[in-house]
Symmetry: C2
Subunit: 207 residues, 2 copies
């Protein structure tokens, strides 16, 4: 055998090239050739590591979903002290708002995938089903804990509020992606809404 190369590393390299290519011209414009050029390899190589384009797209989607999970978890962990429901909730929801350019690119591709998976039968849309419902339960649990501690308003339905929170962050994130709003505005609105759920701001937050 020749160089005896690390397959997983090569695959990751190519997938990253796909994501970069999609960032520039949109997921719909991604071709085998554009990925190959971006990765600096021949088209044959892309074929070699991912037999077909569909499999390449699928692998990239899985990697994207994994990264999304990592992003959220990193945000939660960055908050350090585990037992501050409002802080945790805020951290998780802020992840949906694309602030820097890298985050924007990430969320754009993620959204493109989500929309594409509705019509494209090859892209199993199941990936986009699991994560949100987990998140829903997680947020509801945090809200319940916050109510027990007296931090959150007592009259609220934790589950319904969790769904609302998820919808708000998704909606705000989308509006930022569509250039309807700046990221700063979205963050401010999110803070405002959290202020309504947690009557006493935990840290002199907005409004």
């Amino acid at each position: 055998m020749p160089k005896l190369v690390d397959h997983e590393e090569r695959r990751a390299h190519i997938i990253d090239a796909l994501l970069r290519s999609a960032t520039n011209s949109g997921l719909h414009a991604v071709t085998m050739r554009s990925v190959a050029v971006e990765a600096g390899v021949s088209v044959r190589l892309v074929q070699y590591y991912f037999d077909t384009k569909e499999q390449l797209l699928l692998a990239a989607m899985e990697r994207l979903a994994t990264r999304m999970g990592e992003r959220v978890q990193r945000r939660v962990r960055a908050r350090g002290g585990a037992t501050d429901p409002r802080g945790i909730i805020e951290a998780v929801l802020l992840e949906a708002v694309p602030t820097d350019e890298e985050s924007r690119a990430f969320h754009l591709i993620y959204t493109e995938y989500a929309v594409l998976s509705v019509t494209d039968p090859g892209l199993g849309g199941q990936q986009f089903l699991a994560a949100p419902s987990e998140m829903e339960a997680f947020l509801a649990a945090q809200l319940t804990a916050a109510q027990r501690d007296g931090a959150a308003a007592p009259g609220l339905d934790p589950h319904q509020e969790a769904v609302v929170l998820l919808a708000v962050s998704a909606g705000l994130g989308l509006s930022v992606l569509l250039n309807q709003r700046t990221a700063d505005e979205a963050v401010a609105v999110l803070h405002y809404h959290l202020g309504r759920i947690f009557p006493t701001p935990s840290r002199g937050a907005y409004a």
Copy 2:
């Protein structure tokens, strides 16, 4: 001259064919041929009424935006009695939740266009900028009026709440589109959230 045909009617017919075609296989899969077949005309005819594909897509997008406006206005008017802020707000926001199949198809294409317009330079993304900010002001005004009437909680910031409402309905609508939630669930959550803004339910609404 021959039949002396109504151009606008022909154009509308072809655009409708495009929307139908996009409903089945996604906007990205729409081709001149698929539109022609769906419209029951030759490809040449599509070329004749819309010189290029880009112009066809653009015209369809404009028609879509117009329809969206009509939909919202129809909902508002269907409420009849003009001066019920909660009812009006509810009607407007419910439009974003795809209930029947026709509404679902409509919103799917609309979302596909919105996402596409981010990367595609030909599709002027300005169309998607104007409407939401108008809506924002409209909702804020309704909330202010509701506060004056004592229907809405007094402590709220009408503008921020308007943005939240818009984000919630967009987020819920998207989640329904992505099959993460049923339309009924989304409607229930929206009712719940409105119940928090309007402490006295106007009509024995949910929660």
